[in-house]
Amino acid sequence: MLYRIAGQYKTSYAADHALFPVRQDAWLLGVILLFAFVVFPLTASDFTYQALLIPVLIYSLAALGLNILTGYAGQLSLGTGAFMGVGAYACYKLVSLFPEMNLLVAIALSGFFSAAVGVAFGLPSLRIKGFYLAIATLAAQFFLVWLFQKWRWLTNDNASVAIQVPNIDMFGITVAGPNARSITQYFFVLCVVCLMTWLSINITRGRIGRIWKSVRDMDIAAELVGINLMKAKLSAFFVSSYIVGVAGALFVFLWRGAAEANLFDIPLSFRVLFIAIIGGLGSILGNYLGAILIVALPVIINTVPAAIGITISPSMVEHLNTMSIGALIIGFLIVEPAGLARFWAVIREKLILWPFPH
């Protein structure tokens, strides 16, 4: 009843191109942002930040990067984890070489390193597509993780061959490292993710987004409407890897605090890919829904039984986790193969008509 488009007329193309053609959507977003910026910080505990809020945001951002490549431009990639690693290691090197550099600047710059690596490994996409391209990006995955292990310079010749995030201050507040407070890290991540999401929405709804989608839907036709395929594909690799690299830098600096090379191995790539697929390829919203499902659900399964007084052995919880997540993924994909974002779109369509469907 509340969700109505009646009476909302558009009198200009600018209004028609608005982000939220339906006013209620803007309100909904406002409520979500209110929760994210005010309600969660007021109520959340350290555990909630570290186990739920920060990882959901970071995984969403990584999935968003992958979604731009796979969902919008149609280029399958299995190297997301490694590209995140490039961002993280680049950020680590930048921070240790230029200790006075602002962390925000370092993270923004580290994205360019993973973007460059992404474009280099995206070159095969000019000749091959689909699963064959996925195999080519798999090569990136293995090669880069090997490089992280063997190239000691990346970890400053540190004996443990791992990144240890130092304490980093920004405007007098510690934002990263062992001394940083969770709430600071949360706000840092939240602002970066919001900004990146807004920029991504703008890119994907304009000319460049259409070019990517054209390449995804039919590359020959795209070429014959004047689209330069090379530019289109490589720009998708660039933008996607940039976002993924930023997500990788946040992943280590604002959440994990330390990282070894095998953290960026193929399970991470698959995790991000699952988030993007379950959330819905070719959608921005889907990444958040997918990340909430994949990241937050295990935590909820872990904590809720204990909270209501049922004691389950930790190993049982672990098994339950795997089983229920697996079942949920299968269930959701049977009900809505196009992902959670499509699920939401269907709900919206139904809500507009409800309760008078005829």
């Binding site: 600018a14 191109h17 703008n202 000319r207 039919m218 004047g226 330069n228």
Partner: protein, 275 residues
């Protein structure tokens, strides 16, 4: 049709140095082979500005290959193409579009996941210039450009009478409408030369009439030169100013519809002849 379309048509005609009736594109001694198969052998013909030129012939005559050569998708082994006085043999298809050659396909080649509006807007990709920096900000120059092109696209949507399917993903549309959207996408490129590969294949009589009307309107109001491949001889004879007939990769006739209709070689090619 509204006056605005006319103005735009005039503007395009004025921009062009070539006057109507002069040669816009000429194909000179072009041969194309795939391994041992000769698709096109030694064909020459020209397309004059402002005319509707039909390319006909039995199946496998090399018509589609000819269009692919013209818009740069295939590179002929021999011969040259002169477009607007510039001679070339090899070029990338996206360069052909930039020079003003647009085309549609025999099998509809739309972007199935996108709406009608987005498909036609995609046709204007090469005309839009704002870089990724402006695109990221959206508000400001990128939005202004988007709206400017949206206006042009809305004119095409009006012209083709597809307002009601503006937001529908094209994968869900019936075939006749898909063909129309594809024509719209080609028109969005503001071509000087429009190549249509069987625009009426698989259509019923009414849809054919509509499509014929659109082709004539495009030709007259926008001053667009049209080259089309079509199997419906009735349509070809009514629409086109001149017809070139291919058979087994060779040109067997070239002239006005009446001349071609009475040509002995053409009749033999279509009806067969006892040897």
């Amino acid at each position: 049709m509204n006056a605005h379309v006319d103005q735009r048509g005039m503007a395009i005609a004025r921009d062009d140095a070539i006057a109507p009736g002069e040669v816009l594109l000429s194909v000179k001694n072009v041969s194309l082979a795939f391994g041992g198969v000769k698709a096109i052998s030694d064909i020459s013909f020209d397309i004059r500005k402002g005319e509707i030129r039909a390319i006909i012939g039995p199946n496998g005559a090399g018509k589609t290959s000819m269009l692919n050569v013209i818009n740069g998708f295939y590179t002929p082994q021999q011969g040259t193409i002169v477009f607007r006085g510039v001679e070339r043999r090899a070029m990338k298809p996206h360069h052909a579009v930039r020079q003003g050659i647009a085309r549609t396909f025999q099998n509809v080649a739309l972007f199935k996941g996108m709406s009608t509006l987005d498909n036609i807007m995609a046709g204007r990709s090469t005309l839009m210039k704002r870089n990724i920096g402006w695109q990221m900000l959206w508000h400001g120059p990128a939005l202004a450009e988007e709206i400017e092109h949206r206006k042009a696209v809305e004119e095409i949507i009006d012209f083709l009478e597809i307002q009601h399917i503006r937001r529908t993903p094209v994968g869900r549309l019936p075939y006749g409408l898909q063909k129309r959207v594809e024509l719209g996408r080609a028109l969005a490129m503001e071509p000087t030369l429009l190549l249509l590969d069987e625009p009426m294949a698989g259509m019923n009589l009414e849809e054919k009439e509509d499509m014929s009307r659109f082709i004539l309107d495009v030709n007259r109001q926008r001053g667009t030169t049209v080259a089309l491949i079509e199997h419906d001889i009735g349509v070809v004879m009514d629409l086109s100013d001149r017809v070139v007939v291919l058979d087994y990769g060779k040109k067997i006739a070239d002239g006005t519809p009446d001349e071609v209709k009475n040509d002995r070689a053409v009749i033999d090619a279509y009806l067969g002849v006892s040897h």
